[in-house]
C-alpha cells in the first residue's frame, strides 16, 4: 500500500476533478437528487440508450505507448423503474462497454444487450422476467432459458466476434465496433438454447473451452480459433452445484462441485440453493483429449465464484488459484440491498481469500490460504493453463461502502504481494493483464481496469505496471460521467 502515492494522485488530479464534478451529468446528478449515498452511483441506472463514443481525459501520468486495444466489459446496469427496484444486482440488464485505447487516447462507449427481457421490460417500464434473485411476473412467458437471459456477466472475443455472456442461457452476439446486438449465438443446431457459462477459458493460442451447466449434467464446449465448435461432450458431476466458474490447465478441465446445491429450479434461482458442507468441495478432473477419462478429488467445503487459472507440475500435481469463501455470501442482503442504496458491513461478513489449491496425482487436494482478501482474480492470458508468477485481485474493503478499495498482485514464485490502495473514494473493479510489447514473462505486462471515483461521481480507467502496482497507476483517464459497477471483461 502506498497512501502517499494515492494522495499525490488526488492532489495532482485536483484541478481536473473539480472540473469533472462541475460538468458531471446523468447518473451522478440523478443519484444526488434521490439523496442516495455517493457509492450508489455503482448501482444506478445507465441511460437507456447507453453511451455514445466519448473521449476520456488523461488526468494523470503518461499512457504506455505500446498499449493499444479495447477493454470490453459487461455488467448489470438497469436497476429501477420509477420507485420499483430490481430484486437482485445480478438481474440487471447487461451493458456492454468498450474502452478503445490507442496513441495515448481512451474512448468510452456502451450499449445494452437487446435481450427479450430488456426489450419487454423497457416497453412496459417495469420488471417482468424471473431471474437469479427475482420471482418475476406471472404474465411473462418463459419457454426457454433465453427468455430470462440478462446477458450481463462477461464478454468473449472469438475470431472477431464479440459475445455478451450470461451463465444460464445463450451467449449474445454483438457488433464489436458499434456494440449493437445481433442475437443469441447457436454453436450448432442441436445445441440451440444451451447455456454458455460466463467464464470461458481461452488457451494462449486462442482456442476456447467452456461449460454448459444443467443441474448435475455439464456440457463441455471446445471452440477453435476460427470460432467454430470443434467438439461438445457431456459429463455428470453428481449434484446440481452452483457453478459460476471453473478452471483449466494445459491438459485438464477442473470442475469444482461446491456444496451449494440447487434443490429447486423455480425462480428466484438463489432461493433454491442449499449449503450442504457435509459433501465437502469435490472436484472433477477431465482429460481435455478424452472427456470420459475422469478422476475425482476433494477438499474441505468452500464456496467460490472465481478462479484464476490452473497449471501442472512435472509430477502431475495440478495447482490453481481461487478466491474461496467459508460459506455462501449471497442471499440475505448482499446483491439486493445495494440497489436501494442500503449497505451494512454484515452483508459481507465472509470475504474471499486468495487460496492455492494443490491437487496431487492421487488423493485429496490441499488448500493453502494466503490471507489476502480479494475477488476477480486475473492472470496473464499468455500463461493461462501454464506455470506463471502473478495473480491480480480487486482487494481490500471499506468501512463505509460496498466494493473493493485496492488492486493487489500476488507473486506465487516469490511469495510477495504488492498492492495499491485507492482508499474509500474509489471502488476498484476487475483489472486485466495486457502483455507489454515484446515482454516474455507475466512480470512484463500492464494491468488495465476501471474504478468508480465516488467523490467526483465519474469513471476512471487506470493502467498499472503489473510488476510494480505499489508504485501506483502509470496513467488514469477520466470520463465526464459515471456508469454502474460491472463484472468481467476482456482485452482485444
Amino acid at each position: 500500500m502506498d497512501l502517499s502515492r494515492r494522495h499525490f494522485i488526488e492532489a495532482g488530479m485536483g484541478a481536473s476533478l473539480a472540473g469533472a464534478v462541475g460538468v458531471s451529468f446523468g447518473l451522478s446528478a440523478s443519484a444526488k437528487a434521490n439523496s442516495m449515498p455517493a457509492w450508489h452511483l455503482g448501482y444506478a441506472n445507465a441511460p437507456a440508450g447507453g453511451f455514445d463514443p466519448a473521449p476520456m481525459k488523461l488526468v494523470f501520468g503518461t499512457p504506455p505507448s505500446d498499449l493499444k486495444g479495447s477493454l470490453y466489459r459487461n455488467g448489470p446496469a438497469h436497476f429501477s423503474y420509477g420507485d420499483e427496484y430490481a430484486s437482485h444486482w445480478f438481474d440487471g440488464d447487461g451493458l456492454i462497454h468498450r474502452i478503445a485505447i490507442e496513441d495515448g487516447q481512451a474512448v468510452h462507449q456502451a450499449r445494452f444487450v437487446e435481450t427479450r427481457k430488456r426489450r419487454e421490460e423497457q416497453a412496459a417500464q417495469t420488471f417482468l422476467a424471473p431471474g437469479f434473485g427475482t420471482l418475476g411476473d406471472e404474465s411473462y412467458y418463459v419457454e426457454s432459458a433465453d427468455d430470462t437471459n440478462a446477458a450481463n456477466t462477461s464478454v468473449l472475443m472469438v475470431d472477431g466476434e464479440l459475445l455478451a455472456l450470461w451463465e444460464a442461457g445463450s451467449a449474445f452476439s454483438m457488433n464489436p465496433e458499434t456494440l449493437e446486438t445481433k442475437g443469441p449465438k447457436t454453436w450448432r443446431d442441436d445445441l440451440k438454447g444451451m447455456p454458455f457459462l460466463a467464464h470461458p477459458k481461452v488457451e494462449p493460442d486462442g482456442r476456447v473451452w467452456n461449460l454448459a451447466v444443467g443441474g448435475s449434467r455439464v456440457g463441455i464446449y471446445r471452440i477453435g480459433t476460427n470460432g467454430a465448435l470443434e467438439d461438445f461432450g457431456l459429463v455428470n458431476i453428481g449434484r446440481a452445484a452452483y457453478i459460476h466458474d471453473w478452471t483449466m490447465s494445459e491438459r485438464h478441465l477442473i470442475i469444482l462441485v461446491q456444496p451449494w446445491i440447487n434443490e429447486s429450479l423455480r425462480p428466484p434461482v438463489v432461493a433454491g440453493f442449499e449449503w450442504q458442507p457435509q459433501h465437502g468441495l469435490q472436484m472433477l478432473i477431465v482429460d481435455k483429449d478424452d472427456f470420459s477419462n475422469q478422476r475425482w478429488t476433494q477438499a474441505p467445503a468452500r464456496m467460490f465464484f472465481h478462479t484464476g487459472s490452473a497449471w501442472e507440475e512435472s509430477d502431475g500435481t495440478i495447482k490453481f488459484d481461487v478466491s474461496f469463501y467459508k460459506e455462501p455470501i449471497l442471499g440475505v442482503g448482499g446483491g439486493a440491498a445495494e440497489i436501494r442504496g442500503e449497505w451494512d458491513q454484515s452483508y459481507f461478513s465472509e470475504e474471499g481469500v486468495l487460496t492455492l489449491v494443490e491437487i496431487p496425482p492421487q488423493g485429496d487436494a490441499k488448500l493453502i490460504e494466503t490471507g489476502i482478501i480479494g475477488e476477480f482474480p486475473q492472470v496473464d492470458p499468455r500463461f493461462r493453463g501454464k506455470s506463471r508468477n502473478l495473480v491480480a485481485l480487486a482487494s481490500g474493503a471499506s468501512n463505509t461502502r460496498p466494493g473493493s478499495t485496492t488492486l493487489a498482485v500476488h507473486n506465487w514464485t516469490s511469495g510477495e504481494t504488492k498492492a495499491f490502495d485507492f482508499g474509500d473514494n474509489r471502488i476498484v473493479e476487475e483489472f486485466l493483464f495486457v502483455p507489454k510489447s515484446g515482454g516474455q514473462s507475466d512480470l512484463e505486462s500492464w494491468l488495465v481496469g476501471p474504478v468508480l471515483n465516488i467523490k467526483a461521481g465519474v469513471r476512471e480507467i487506470c493502467v498499472f505496471d503489473a510488476a510494480h502496482v505499489d508504485d501506483g497507476p502509470v496513467c488514469i483517464w477520466q470520463a465526464e460521467y459515471s456508469w454502474p459497477l460491472g463484472f468481467h471483461g476482456t482485452w482485444a
Partner: protein, 140 residues
C-alpha cells in the same frame, strides 16, 4: 422446462382417428413459418387429452411456404386446443438440445405461451362452433 417430446406419437396416433360424421368443421391456419422446409406436426386436443398421451385428431402438413392449413371435419362442437411443432429436418421427432429444451419451433392455439412448461389448457383452449370455426396460429 418445456417438453413436447410426446407430440410426435400423439400426432401419429391422432391421424388414424376417423372423423365423426355430421359434426363441426375446424380450419387451423399456421402462419409466419420461418423456414420453408420440413413439416408442421399438429395435434388437436380436448380438455381430457390436453395433458395426456392422446390427441383427438392431428395433421402432418408439408411446409412449402410461410403458412399451412389443416382441415378437420366432423368434430364434436366444444372446446379444443392445438399443440404443434415444426419438424424442420423431417426426422419425425421434435428435436431437443442435450438438456431437453426444444430446438425446433413450436406453438399453441391462441398463440398461448408457457411459463416453465407448455401453455396451460385455459390459455390455449378455443371453441369449435357447430357451424364451423377457423383458428389462426402465428409462429414466432
Amino acid at each position: 422446462m418445456t417438453r413436447l417430446t410426446s407430440l410426435t406419437a400423439i400426432v401419429a396416433v391422432a391421424c388414424m382417428i376417423t372423423p365423426v360424421a355430421n359434426a363441426a368443421d375446424l380450419t387451423v391456419n399456421v402462419e409466419n413459418i420461418a423456414q420453408t422446409k420440413g413439416t408442421i406436426m399438429l395435434g388437436l386436443f380436448d380438455q381430457a387429452t390436453y395433458n395426456g398421451d392422446g390427441a383427438v385428431n392431428g395433421a402432418s402438413l408439408k411446409v412449402e411456404g410461410t403458412s399451412v392449413t389443416a382441415e378437420f371435419e366432423g368434430l364434436e362442437p366444444g372446446e379444443y386446443a392445438v399443440r404443434l411443432y415444426h419438424d424442420v429436418n423431417d426426422d419425425g421427432e421434435m428435436n431437443t438440445n442435450p438438456f431437453g429444451m426444444p430446438t425446433e419451433p413450436f406453438a399453441f392455439s391462441n398463440d398461448a405461451k408457457g411459463r416453465f412448461g407448455p401453455a396451460k389448457w385455459d390459455a390455449a383452449k378455443f371453441v369449435v362452433e357447430a357451424d364451423g370455426t377457423t383458428h389462426t396460429i402465428t409462429m414466432n
